[in-house]
Structures are given as C-alpha cells and as structure tokens.
C-alpha cells in the first residue's frame, strides 16, 4: 500500500476524531462518567443497569471496544492510531470501554490466531459486543506452576469428547458463560497430550464452587467436570496442539498483567503523605519516628529505580525491536514492591490499618487491608516468583537446568 502523504493522514485522523466525539456526544450518558467497566472485573456478577447496557451496545455495535480486531468478526477494523484516538477521546469525557474481560484480553487474540473460520465467526462477535463472559480452565489442584501436569481428561467419543476432571482458580467461573480450557487427550506425552477446547459452563456435568480467599472475596472458583459432553467443533487447533496454543494465550495474559495495573499501584498516594496523616511530625514536617522514616525512604528509592527500570525496558525493547532482557525482572520486582508497600501502609496506620469492616474505618483503610491480603497472590499467579527466577537464570543468564 502506498504511504499516504502526512497531510492526508492528519486530515483523516482529524475526521476520525470528530466522528468519535460525535459518537460520544450522542451515546455516552453523562451519569456514567468516571465509573468503571464491570465486565472487565472478575469479582462481581453482571448486573447491568439499562443505561450501562445501552452504552455497551452502542460501543459493541461499532466494534470500538476491540478497535483493532478485524471488522468481519465484529471488531472495529481500525488502525492503532485510530484506536489511540478512541482511547484518548473516551478518557477525556470519563467514558470507560464497556467491552472487556478475559475474552478480550486473552481468549480473543488467541482464537483469532488459532481458530478456524467457523469458530471465529461464532465466538469473536459476541466478545466484541460484550455479550459473553469467558473464564480460564487452566490450573488444577496438582497443576499449578507445573501446569503441563494437568490431568482433566477428554475421551474421544466420535462426534464429541467426554470430559472429566477438576480445574481450580477459575477466575470469575461463577459468572462465566463459557470456558476456554486445556485438557489431556493423551496420557503418553506430557506436553503433546494436551488439547485446547471450549466448554459451555451451563452444560450438564459442570459444577462451580466459589473459593473464599483470605481477603474475604471469592473471585476464584473450583470447577468440576463430570461426564461433560464437548462437541468436536469446540476443539481449537489440532488435538495435541493445546500446550502451544495455551502458552500463546499466557503471553497475552502476561502482557496484560505486567503493564498498567502494577505500575499504577506503585504510583498511588505517596507513603510519606499517608504517614504524615497518621504519625507525628516535627515543626519541619519531618516524621518524628526516624526508623519509620528510614523505611519509607528506603522503599521509595527502590520503587523509583523500579519505575525507571520499567521505562528503560520499554525504551530498550523499542530500540532493539525485540523484548529487552530486563523485562524478565519486572514481574518479580514489581510484585514484591507492591507487597512491601501494603505492609508499610499497615505499619504506618497501626491497628487502624487492619480493619475488616465497620464505619469506624475509612474506605481507603478497608480497601488497603483487602488489597494487602489479595496482593499475596501477585507473587504466585502469572508465573510465581520462583518460576520467574528459573526463567531468568536459565534463559537470560544461561545457567544450566537443575535436575
């Protein structure tokens, strides 16, 4: 395709910006400004208000919630530049993207890559319209860090598979319509015996039990499959290709959890500002408790060098045209710092920072307690810190495999 002269690009971007603004003026209800997208979260049922539903439908109809996905499957068919314009214009009026969740973040991109035409036509458009919630059937009681050890088994019954087994940590399983799962179709080969298939959560034999976490919430479930019939057309890729497809999906997961969320947490309110509210300060504004002051400074210096490292990883990756090797440290360092920060908040607030419920505690205090507890998961999921260390040692430092 011939490159357009710069002025033409500018003109078409301006035209598109106007189109987005007109769309927002016509469809975005002011009362939703500044609110978030429930569908993107995992910790609540889908109770859309009629206003929220209308907004979702308006965005979904244009495919603007998944702007760069192909138009023929319900995406926006737009360029990255146009997607940025949408993001920018939405943010300006406080509009959230009502399309989200695991279907958008992980499953959709993977199916677009590995699915057949019929599967893409069936499953991608409802994701683009935000009509279907997907959950992930990966971990099992005996397959956590050693995921390929999974034992849920699918027996070939001609036109369908019969699936038996148990999945765990199924995020949002109690609210999901469908599950993308990796299951065993062959016991003779650990990795090549795995297949990727799609299971209806309301199929007979599927049972979901929410797990109450130490934070008091139940965002994860145990999912049991007892003689669940899965039609052959729900196999993605070939039988035995599941490990390859499943790992590709995990890359999409890591891209999504390594970026914004964790860094945003680190940029939250300065610990020193919180400390000044809860602890004594001298005339010069310095914290009187010198030991606590030292701990806060120590933490903030290290979190600064982490943020600088995250930025450097992006710059290096851009300059090299490949992933920079220091990207490998971001997950383990960032999650550790976030946990340290939560612990320091408790030290700063004392017992007032350990409230479970009640009006005597502020919303921020209660949220930080739940965040502290739930944050313990961050060094476990998405490849535990120990797995990250193995990856750094073997793939980056070239230390040989331990046996």
């Amino acid at each position: 395709m011939p490159t357009q002269p710069e002025s033409d690009v500018q003109a078409s971007e301006d035209a598109f910006r106007t189109e987005v603004r007109q769309f927002l003026a016509a469809h975005f209800p002011a009362e939703l400004s500044g609110t978030g997208n429930m569908l993107a979260g995992l910790d609540g049922p889908t109770n859309e208000t009629p206003v929220q539903k209308k907004w979702r439908e308006a965005v979904g109809e244009r495919g603007w919630g998944t702007p760069t996905w192909p138009k023929e499957y319900g995406g926006g068919g737009l360029t990255k530049g146009q997607a940025r314009i949408i993001e920018h214009e939405f943010a300006k009026v406080g509009a959230y993207n009502p399309i989200g969740g695991m279907g958008v973040m992980m499953f959709g991109p993977t199916l677009l890559e590995y699915g057949d035409e019929k599967q893409k036509l069936e499953h991608i458009p409802p994701i683009c319209r935000g009509e279907i919630r997907w959950c992930q059937g990966y971990s099992e009681p005996n397959a956590g860090s050693d995921l390929a050890n999974l034992q849920t088994f699918a027996v070939d019954k001609g036109d369908h598979y019969l699936v038996n087994g148990q999945k765990t940590w199924t995020s949002g399983g109690q609210w999901a319509d469908k599950c993308f799962a990796i299951v065993r179709t062959d016991r003779s080969d650990k990795h090549k015996g795995i297949s990727f298939m799609l299971i209806d959560m309301d199929a007979p034999g599927v049972e979901v039990r929410p797990i109450t976490m130490i934070s008091g919430t139940s965002p994860f479930c145990e999912t049991f499959f007892t003689d669940v019939k899965v039609p052959k057309e729900n196999l993605v890729g070939r039988e035995g290709q599941g490990w390859t497809i499943g790992k590709r999906l995990l890359q999409h997961e890591r891209t999504n959890i390594s970026g914004g969320g964790r860094l945003a947490g680190m940029m939250g309110q300065s610990l020193a500002d919180v400390a000044k509210k809860y602890c004594e300060t001298g005339g010069d504004g310095a914290l009187v408790n010198k030991v606590l002051r030292d701990k806060i400074a120590d933490f903030e210096i290290r979190s600064n060098s982490f943020l600088l490292t995250a930025r450097r990883a992006v710059e290096e990756s851009k300059a090299q045209g490949g992933v920079s090797e220091i990207s490998s440290v971001l997950k383990k360092v960032g999650t550790k710092l976030a946990q340290e920060r939560s612990e320091l908040l408790i030290e700063i607030r004392g017992l007032q920072g350990l409230g479970w419920e009640g009006d005597e505690f502020g919303d921020d205090e209660l949220e930080d307690v739940r965040g502290w507890l739930f944050g313990k998961a961050a060094t476990i999921y998405g490849g535990s810190t120990e797995v990250q260390n193995n990856i750094i040692a073997k793939r980056v430092l070239g230390m040989l495999d331990h046996q």
Partner: protein
C-alpha cells in the same frame, strides 16, 4: 543500558576496548606494588586525556568535547569494570564545579588544563570520616584559606583542589600552605588528609545557593557510574565462575539455590543501572538533579554492597585470596559507598528532599 547516540556508543566501545587491553586489573596490581602514594599510572592518565576523556563535560571552547555527564559516565563505568586507578572522576567533578560556579576567567584558565590532563584536580569537602557538608569549619580570610580536609580522594596527584569553606567553594592550588598526610585505605588508592594553612584561595562566585550540594550531586552520579562498572564486572565474573566450578560432580550453575540468588542480583543490577543512568541524564538535563543523584548513589550503594559480598561468597575460598581479583572490588566498593554519602545519609537526604 540506556538508548545511546552513535557518538556515545563509539565512546563507550573505545573505553571498553582500552580498559580491557591497556588497563586490566593486572595494571592496578602494578600500581599497588609500586607503592607510589599518588597510586595511578601517569602515562595511562596522559593517554586517557589524549583520548579526550578528561574533557567530556567541558565545552569545546575550553578544549573539551561537551558530551555531558551521561557520556562521561559511560567511560567511567568501563574503567570501573577493570578497577582502573586514575584521577579522571575527581578531575571531572572539579571541572563540573568550575563550570557551575567559576567566572569566565576561572573557566578560561582551568578548564583547558583539566581537559588536556595537564592539571589533575579533586574535591575537598568533608572534615571528618563521614559525608557531612553541613559541618564545615574551614574559613577564608583575605583570600587565605585555612582548615583541614579529611580523606581527600586523589590528593597526591592533584595540583588543584576545589575546597568547601563556610561561605562557599574555593580553588586552591597545591603549593605554599598546603600539606598532605597520607591515609592508606583498604582500596590502596590515593587518599590524604589535606591541611590548608593560609593557602591562597580564589572563590567560585557563580552558581546557585546550593552550589556545594550541586557539586556533590555530580560527585555522586560519577562515583555511581564507577560503582556500576564494578558491580557489572563482579556479577559477570561470578556468573562465569559458577558455570565452570564443579562440585558434587555438578557445575555450580546447575544448583537452584545459586540460580535464584543470581536472578535476584541480576534484578538488583538492572535497578542500579536504571538509577545511575537516570542520575547522569538528570545532570545533563538540569531537571530534578538532587533527587535523581540521591537515588542513583543510594541504589549504587545498596546493589554494589550486595554484589561485592555475594561475589566473595559465591567464589568460595578462592574469593578470599589476594591472587583473585574479586576482593579488590569489595575493598574499593566500601570506600566509594562511604564517599559523598553513605546509604543512611542518602536516605535521610531523600526524605528531606521529599518533604518528610
């Protein structure tokens, strides 16, 4: 590694090549064996100046290349890798002080001499064993400076001192009224207590109210660059050693306990490099220098401390021998950690800068 310009890459490659070929750690051993108090090879420093390294932050009009602190840091890092003994860091810091506070005449007089290597310079601030710019008793009266400075780096080779007095920074030439008492420190480099007894002094009148802190911040980022090179060298050497050493019929690198420790150090080193490069870049941009320099040196202190200790531990008994280089890095590490701000000093400074 920050994304570098073509000139910076060439400069770094040149420094790496020279340090590896002309100034490996065996050269430092020769300096140590010579027992000379100035503790560097003069012809090696002349060669460095010849290559333009003493003038990297000095404007072209004064005989330098005006490449800035980030570029100077690249060279200093490469020299730190091989523990090259030279007054390059202190001379560059002094040039930085003159650039910030010197008059046009002072700049025209001194900067070309510093750039050419003809004049070696250093910074004399502290009067005790700790970094404490608030506790200065040195005073000047009628152009004569009197006071005693402790543990001055590169004092033996220096013929120009940038001296902190109560009312500001002064330039003092070696000569009448200047006397040295050698203080042999564990790094076997040049350190001395310097007494100034009515020595002729010329004030650096320019610069901001915080000129001394601004100069110390430059000392911090350049020392941090040297420390970065040292940390990288110890890490690389240790990793190589773990890949060769066999115990229990296994290469040590295959033990998971050691793999995870190296993964931790690798992450620390990544943070150190980010902080040091950001500190150097902040000096060049002039934006947020105090904070960035404090973070740079604090992270350099933290990470080099850990890596120099683990370098010995992971080498095992052989790391304890004088024959092996890793011990030299440990000894130099502690001297640099204690200079221009220890970890506790820098954390205190960071909290002050942040208003708590």
């Amino acid at each position: 590694m920050a994304v570098l310009s073509e000139e910076q890459e060439m400069l770094r490659d040149m420094a790496r090549d020279w340090a590896t070929k002309e100034s490996p750690v065996s050269e430092f051993r020769k300096v140590r064996a010579s027992g000379e108090p100035h503790a560097y090879n003069s012809s090696a420093y002349a060669a460095m100046a010849e290559m333009g390294w003493a003038g990297i932050i000095i404007p072209e009009a004064h005989g330098g290349s005006d490449f800035g602190f980030m570029s100077a840091g690249l060279v200093v890092e490469e020299l730190g890798k091989t523990l090259t003994a030279s007054p390059l860091v202190t001379t560059t810091i002094a040039a930085g002080a003159i650039l910030l506070g010197g008059s046009d005449e002072q700049k025209a007089k001194w900067l070309p001499r510093l750039a050419s290597g003809e004049t070696v310079a250093t910074l004399a601030v502290d009067e005790g064993a700790h970094c404490d710019p608030a506790a200065i008793a040195t005073s000047v009266s009628g152009g004569k400076l009197t006071g005693r400075k402790a543990f001055v780096h590169e004092a033996h080779g220096a013929n120009l001192f940038v001296v902190a007095a109560k009312d500001g920074l002064y330039l003092v030439e070696k000569g009448d009224g200047v006397s040295l008492t050698t203080r042999k420190l564990t790094d076997q480099r040049s350190h001395a207590d310097v007494s100034f007894a009515g020595a002729a002094a010329e004030k650096l009148e320019g610069g901001s109210d915080s000129l001394l802190d601004d100069v110390l911040d430059r000392a911090r980022v350049l020392s941090a660059a040297e420390m970065l090179g040292m940390a990288q060298a110890v890490f690389d050497t240790t990793l190589d050693y773990l890949k060769q050493r066999v115990q229990f019929n296994q290469v040590l690198a295959t033990f998971q306990a050691l793999q995870h420790r190296m993964a931790d150090l690798f992450a620390d080193l990544a943070q150190m490099r980010s902080a040091v490069e950001a500190g150097l870049q902040a000096v060049d941009s002039g934006f947020g220098v105090a904070r960035a320099a404090t973070i740079a040196k604090a992270e350099a202190n933290r990470v080099l401390h850990a890596i120099s200790n683990q370098g010995i531990q992971l080498h095992g008994g052989i790391g304890m021998t004088d024959e092996f280089n890793v011990g030299f890095y440990l000894k130099r590490a502690r001297v640099l950690e204690a200079s221009w701000g220890s970890s506790s000093y820098l954390k205190d400074r960071f909290a002050q800068l942040s208003g708590y």
